[in-house]
């Protein structure tokens, strides 16, 4: 384990996801690595842009292509204390999608009687610029 993890300094990790989910392994691996990071008490946020927005499309069902339907695993992000999932609006719009097409993701706020709160924030390119620049560690998938 790195010295940074052992020293207890919490860094802001941003996982930038720019690839569609089922054609390659990037999406699934990015999600797993992010969950592992979150399990180690790092401050983890997710960013979905370009084809990465397809990862959050509701209604994915891989039965017919015979692969694991890891789209269910995005719903575990909240359990792993990932509380910020950013989706770039322009990437959605260019693909003919809107926020309503995305799977609903929530986290349960332990301090607020397990109240379910939304995880996904659709943001502008300008807001995404800010989110990228404010993160300490950027990981690309």
């Amino acid at each position: 384990m790195s010295e940074e993890l052992q020293s207890g300094i919490v860094k802001k990790f941003l996982y930038i996801n720019r690839r569609a989910p089922h054609g390659t392994n990037y999406a699934q691996e990015g999600l797993e690595v992010a969950l592992i990071g979150a399990a180690f008490d790092q401050d983890v946020a997710m960013a979905y842009l370009d084809d990465g927005v397809f990862q959050l499309k509701a209604g994915q069902d891989t039965k017919a292509i015979g692969t694991k339907n890891f789209s269910a695993t995005y719903r575990a992000l909240g359990d792993y204390d990932v509380k910020r999932v950013y989706v770039e609006r322009e990437s959605l719009e260019r693909r003919g999608l809107s926020e309503d097409d995305l799977m609903p993701l929530v986290y349960e706020d332990e301090d607020d009687d397990w109240e379910e709160k939304p995880l996904i924030h659709v943001v502008s390119a300008r807001e995404m610029q800010q989110i990228i620049s404010e993160s300490d560690v950027l990981l690309n998938f």
């Binding site: 592992i36 979150a38 399990a39 694991k68 269910a72 695993t73 719903r75 359990d79 349960e108 332990e110």
Partner: protein, 110 residues
């Protein structure tokens, strides 16, 4: 690696986690536990069954912190704490219980 139970053999990874989820049965869970010198009580089964449901829903075996929190929510704070869970599963609640549940090693455990 293979696990021999009642004359049948089951494929596992090098740490004893079942290779095929579909091989799992409650008898197999009992046998794996006995192999570790552990008798599965109702309290153990509560956790094992919870993990199987969690995997079914999320396609992932939860890390110990996630498991603890989720158990707390489902079964109450007196069970959703590490002391209780480590007493049940001294080798690590997520790791050991996932093994008996026939799941892969939890995401976020090394």
């Amino acid at each position: 690696m293979t696990l021999e139970i009642n004359g049948q053999s089951f494929e596992t990874d090098e740490e004893g986690y079942l290779a095929n989820l579909s091989d799992w049965s409650s008898e197999l869970a009992e046998a794996m536990a006995q192999h570790d010198g552990c008798d599965l009580t109702e309290n153990h089964w509560e956790v094992v069954n919870f993990l199987r449901e969690y995997y079914d829903e999320y396609q992932i075996a939860p890390a110990v912190r996630v498991l603890t929190k989720a158990i707390g929510k489902r079964l109450g704070k007196d069970k959703g704490n590490s002391r209780y869970l480590y007493e049940l599963f001294p080798y690590g609640p997520a790791k050991q219980a996932c093994k008996y549940a026939g799941l892969p090693k939890p995401t976020g455990c090394v």
